[in-house]
Subunit: 188 residues, 2 copies
């Protein structure tokens, strides 16, 4: 078996904790791959809250979910993930969240996530995370601006109190094309 | 489920590739925990070659393997792992190897593995590794001299050609007591 990529391992981790009926967040729905993955995990009684600042992402994700008959499990918000704090009530408990940081594949490569809003979104998810819940953050950083975001998010994750959270860093290190880094934050 | 420690995840990776009948190396048998784990993986028709420079480690491991009735699957060498190149014939094909770098728990904390001999041992294992085979290297580096070894091994692993090997780095990053880093090298 091949050692899993950062993205594949983020799925393994989410799958190990998210159960039918759970509530989860897809903070960057993009083309809807993770949204679909999460919708399958939470089952018909669960809920995925999905966010994206780009209309193209919301459209692509809606089409994908309709196609796989999963749209009823998902609520999509055409808003940046920095709005999670406002959109999700304080008492919503989430079992997991996914972040795919960078640009929308097939979209405008100038529109990128950035450190400040990403960290705001992560914080909103952390305060709603149930014990053993996991936030998977897949950091693409080969594009202009990517390194700045990567450094900001890594610094933030590094400083999370270890009594409350376990933070895993998972990455391939001998590759030339900056493969993504996975940060996985688990609430203890 | 809790996110696995570096040591636990090294076992997960080895378990995903090592099958009954395979040949593997335990480059640092220590108190024999990994040796026993590997002996269970390779089964009665497989073979574990175990190395340790300390007599105490060989004695503890022998006792452990006798106790679990696994000694017949293991050949122990009271030699430093830099001798792997001499001890194992060139045509021995291995499916995996484990390195636990640092000092022997319960032994003399002054006796530590070091970068130059460790890298020599890793090279000997790499040349004998079969496709999809994995070398798991658990790097403890909180002790005096540990950081120097860590940096040397990381630098070596970083430069392995990506067409031949995939190198994964896996570690908890928000903990104060320098938890070990896992490097896993898979032959493509």
């Amino acid at each position: 078996m091949k050692i899993k990529s950062a993205l594949a391992y983020s799925h393994t981790l989410l799958q190990s904790v998210v159960q039918a009926g759970d509530v989860v967040v897809d903070a960057t729905v993009g083309n809807g791959h993770d949204t679909e993955f999460l919708a399958n995990l939470v089952g018909p009684s669960g809920r995925v809250y999905g966010f994206d600042v780009q209309q193209l992402a919301i459209d692509n994700t809606t089409a994908r979910l309709k196609n796989s008959n999963l749209l009823s499990r998902v609520r999509l918000f055409h808003q940046g993930h920095e709005q999670i704090e406002q959109v999700l009530a304080k008492d919503v408990q989430i079992k997991g969240a996914m972040f795919n940081l960078g640009y929308l594949p097939g979209g405008d490569h100038q529109m990128i996530t950035n450190g400040a809003t990403t960290i705001k979104a992560i914080k909103a998810c952390l305060t709603r995370l149930t014990p053993s819940g996991i936030i998977g953050i897949v950091l693409y950083y080969g594009h202009p601006g990517g390194l700045t975001e990567k450094n900001a998010v890594m610094k933030f994750a590094n400083q999370l109190p270890q009594k409350q959270f376990t933070v895993l860093q998972y990455q391939f290190i001998n590759q030339v094309n900056e493969p993504p880094i996975l940060l996985a934050i688990q609430k203890r």
